[in-house]
Amino acid sequence: MDRSAAELMMQRETAVQYGPVPHSLSGEPLAEMSWQMLGGAFLLRGEGEHYFLYRKGDGVTVERGPDADVSEESLWLNGSVYAAVASLNGLLPIHASAVAHDGRVFAFSGPAGAGKSTLVAALGRHGLPLFCDDTLVLDLSDPERIVCLPGHKRLKLRPDAIGLTGAMPQEKVSKTVDKHYALPATGEVGVALPLGELIFLEERPEPAIMPITGAERLVRLQDDHYTARLFDSARKFDRAAQFAHLARLARQIAMARFVRPLDRDRFDEGVALAARHVAQPRS
């Protein structure tokens, strides 16, 4: 199966080696659980003396100090490090989980706890394969369309969500995270696909899906998730360039709001509505 240039770049640039790294890029001390980005390089410090350095063309180097929590390492690599590598190479990571249908990606976005992972896992019961969990990486290199890179993270679900979604539970994510890896009911899609729609999750008493039009599309793209902060830091757009970037996304991405009650008894009703929405015929 042919892989896109962006996928091959990410595979190359996220290759990991182990060894000592500088503990600061700026000269300022780097606190635990924080990062610096400077001159095309990214340095992250996890808990204790656990450092992750990325430099363009050199891949990722991990330094494990004696107190590093190795069980968290893949979470750092697949989270902030992956998003930083994507951002420094012109890709846009967004906070969303997605399914694929008819050659297009349908992504669900919302704050932590909004139910993104649970929803895409449950859509597997409706025959919709998982495309990504938690982070969707967009390739903007073609001005005519926005292409999504297949997910690089394994699906993670809380114990109660596993029962709700029909996903098959796997091992626990880490010692400190109360989630399990899970296999979605209809499997996963592993090829790059164009973005079909970005759907924002909100809580309301009655389930409904409504299109988002006009300026609200641009407003919705203003995100404070860590992926957006990494992209902003990497691209260093001035106001006009940032506006042009958001306006392009707003023009090219179809958007909708999916409102539903966060009520276990009505969970299946909302999932069925989302499944019908994704599967409806489109031009």
């Binding site: 006009g214 641009l218 306006a247 707003a250």
Partner: protein
Amino acid sequence: MAALAKRTDRFSEADIDEEIVVMMLDTGQFFSLSGTSAAIWRLIDGQRDRAAVLASLTGAFHGEEQAVTKDLDEFLATLREMGLLVD
């Protein structure tokens, strides 16, 4: 009367669906225009004066001249207040 012109150094704009989104470059704040205000914004091109803009609007909005004149003058005043028109 002098042609109406925008201070293009003070904003960026984008068409999204039927709306025009305008961002102020000094503050980063933005607002959207639709309907009559979007039509006026498009007609302010550095060539037309107020009378020409009014004539185009009146044609487009089927001759409701009194209401259109009020909308035009209010919108031009707002744009002047925001520093978006060349004096």
